[in-house]
Assembly symmetry: C2
């Protein structure tokens, strides 16, 4: 098994942190996104969408999409549970992972894609939409500050994949000036808490 | 248990089709999106994001996000399996559900939100981004036509939630002129196949 991944892109980091939390070590193959190696025929044969990360299994087949790779490892090695336990809690983790993905991570990524020089010539940039996405991400951080006043972690009392998604999104947001505001104390405390976990450096 | 939902919006339809496939009947409460009932204080108390669908459980708590609601029912009643069976297949379904969601459904929804009169004054519209999203959705339908040349359903040989996501996205795409092209025979045959299931009318 090996993971085709990138040290700099945010979605691969979700898998790196997840695996560190599980204590699972998977050999990594660095894909050079800067030189568009992810668009090469060899890579596209692994994932037709040309996106990292991609997990290559021992039978030579491939699995892509960060959350699908995480779920695969959760099913292979259930402990520690990062997708929740039992129907209600698993549904709650799915809900929160999707909320932080759709309300924060995707707007953060859209801000980067629509406004950053890295994507100039790589995709059709509409900077005005990037500005809309940035305002949405910032508004949602204010909302999450209120939510995190009521509990330790995004989806409840236990650390979960939803915390990983939000951590990665917020850290990547720095590139485009999307940051936790000084008065967002609960969100700030949560960020310090999850950043102090050894997995955050994975 | 009751489902706060909408007859016209696409995400609620994902849950309706899913429940029909499961043979589960949940009382529905129609939310009038046209008059912004989903932004009312009563509704926002159920889902702070003001989005349908929302599942109200018997203990009075709420669960939102279509896929989280679907997963909750999958865990309560595993048969027929719509999220796959076993680690590899469940990961494959997750991968494909995310691929059709991110590559087709979200661009279809963005096209609608950014260009349609319904959202005028409801959110900041950037029509130029709607045009980019539309081109992306159309390009991905061409890609999926090739994928569906190799198998019956989106994620493999069995019908899954990934088929529901793609069906709902394509059907909703009609509103903004996103359609299966006549020469996309495999995608067209797949669409006819899934549309013929009784659940498609749920």
């Amino acid at each position: 098994m090996r993971l085709f991944t990138s040290k700099t892109a945010p979605n691969p980091r979700r898998v790196h942190v997840f695996l560190a939390e599980k204590g699972i070590d998977v050999p990594r193959v660095e894909v050079d996104i800067g030189s568009a190696e992810n668009r090469s025929p060899a890579f596209v044969a692994r994932n037709p969408l040309g996106l990292v990360p991609v997990l290559e299994l021992d039978d030579g087949t491939h699995l892509s999409e960060s959350v699908a790779i995480c779920r695969y490892f959760e099913l292979l090695q259930p402990e520690p549970a990062l997708f929740g336990r039992g129907a209600r809690e698993q549904a709650e983790v799915e809900m929160w992972n999707r909320r932080v993905e759709h309300e924060v991570a995707l707007p953060v990524f859209a801000t980067f894609q629509m406004t950053h020089d890295f994507f100039k010539g790589r995709l059709e940039q509409v900077p005005e939409y990037g500005a809309v996405a940035k305002r949405k991400a910032l508004a949602r951080l204010a909302w999450l500050d209120g939510e995190l006043a009521r509990r330790e972690y995004v989806a409840g009392d236990a650390f979960s994949i939803a915390d990983i998604t939000l951590l990665v999104a917020i850290d990547f947001g720095r590139v485009t000036g999307i940051r936790i505001a000084p008065d967002q104390r609960h969100l700030g405390a949560w960020h310090a808490r999850v950043s102090a976990r050894p997995s955050a450096r994975a």
